[in-house]
Symmetry: C2
Subunit: 234 residues, 2 copies
């Protein structure tokens, strides 16, 4: 039975992970990139990637790559696109499936990051990336921009408690444009998915801004009732 398809060729198949993080201080969307430590293109910047093993599903492979780099499990992760050009990798013909992950920058395992030569780089000024990794990033970013309008994935990039100013800054960083403060607040609050905490963030202003928390369970409940998340504001 295992020889049924044997007249057909086999291929290397890899996963590459586009790892997004949000720098709450610099108000910049960032990407976790690594200095490649093997040939070809050793020393160049690349996405975190790895080959799919014999008895490993593609999803497992993507999770493994992410875990090795960040020490994190159960990340928000989504498949982006499969790249199948014959010459995309000069080392050999490799088919690569890209995944993008959203992670809370502050939750990352610094040691692992060091070991793997990983660095956060602002999406606005990325270095040159190997192969077709820039294309992968562009596509994933476009998907993220669409996604964040219509699903509450922004919260994956923020700490548990965040202020409305921080949330808006995140949206502005991802959309790459300004948003009207009053309209933004009106819309996000009207969805009833945030809980106001009895605590203020006092680092960035004298007055201080109230912390909020995203209530995930409420979103699940609402969704079942046919509610749609929407934060596509001017």
């Amino acid at each position: 039975m295992t020889r049924i398809y044997s007249k057909h060729p086999k291929h290397f198949v890899a996963v590459d992970c586009i790892i997004f993080g949000y720098d709450i201080i610099e108000k910049e969307l960032k990407l976790l990139l690594i200095k490649r430590n093997f040939e070809p293109a050793k020393g160049k910047w690349s996405l975190a990637g790895g080959f799919i093993a014999e008895n490993e599903s593609m999803t497992q492979a993507a999770c493994r790559v992410l875990y090795q780099l960040t020490g994190l499990k159960n990340l928000y992760m989504e498949q982006s696109y499969a790249y199948g050009g014959v010459d995309r990798d000069p080392g050999a013909r490799v088919i690569s499936v890209s995944y993008f992950a959203l992670i809370k920058i502050q939750s990352i395992d610094k040691d692992r990051q060091e070991i793997n030569g990983a660095h956060w780089r602002s999406i606005a000024k990325l270095p040159d990336l190997i192969f077709d990794h820039k294309r992968m990033v562009d596509r994933a970013l476009a998907e993220l921009q669409n996604n964040i309008k219509v699903r509450p994935v922004g919260f994956e990039l923020l700490p548990e408690k965040f202020t409305l100013v921080q949330l808006q800054d995140l949206y502005e960083a991802i959309y790459q444009r300004g948003i009207d403060k009053r309209n933004f607040r009106k819309k996000i609050l009207s969805m009833n998915l945030l809980e106001k905490l009895d605590e203020k963030e006092k680092m960035t202003s004298k007055k201080g801004a109230w912390y909020y928390r995203f209530i995930h369970q409420k979103y699940i409940d609402f969704k079942e009732k046919g509610f749609y998340f929407n934060l596509d504001v001017n």
Copy 2:
């Protein structure tokens, strides 16, 4: 150089094509399915698929599979999703990337279709499909439903000239719900992408309905000016 990655395993990689067509008479969205003529699952219904060859890109493979079945080139085609579960194919571990295509039913090469044992089946009452092909169809259909709201892809499923009634019927078949006639017409016509022809379709009514044509070039021009297609009507 070609042995660089050789410690890693290789995999069979296939493409599977979800081929949508629209039956203008029965007002039904259809899928082109084939009776599989090889083991495993010989004789069962499946999507059109094929393995990726040595020096063939994934896109080329998908086009080849489509061409073999339909005799058509330059179809509207889009990658849908990569399926990488270890046990998805009982014959061997096969990674499969699905593509969906939109074709004008009447343009198909009947002979090829016969030879390949291909049949149009209504999406509303599909037979059991092999492996995870049903999941592939479900995902592709959801993508089509989203896509058709926001890109003028519906016209790929209709003949060159079509009536507004036919266009609306198509949208109703894909959305699987009714649409208000006046609102639909108002919205599609206000986009200025259709040209009214001096000819009526007289088969289905005594009065006859005006034929229209989609002006693809106009869409390209508008898009450059930041215009967005939208046909998300009640």
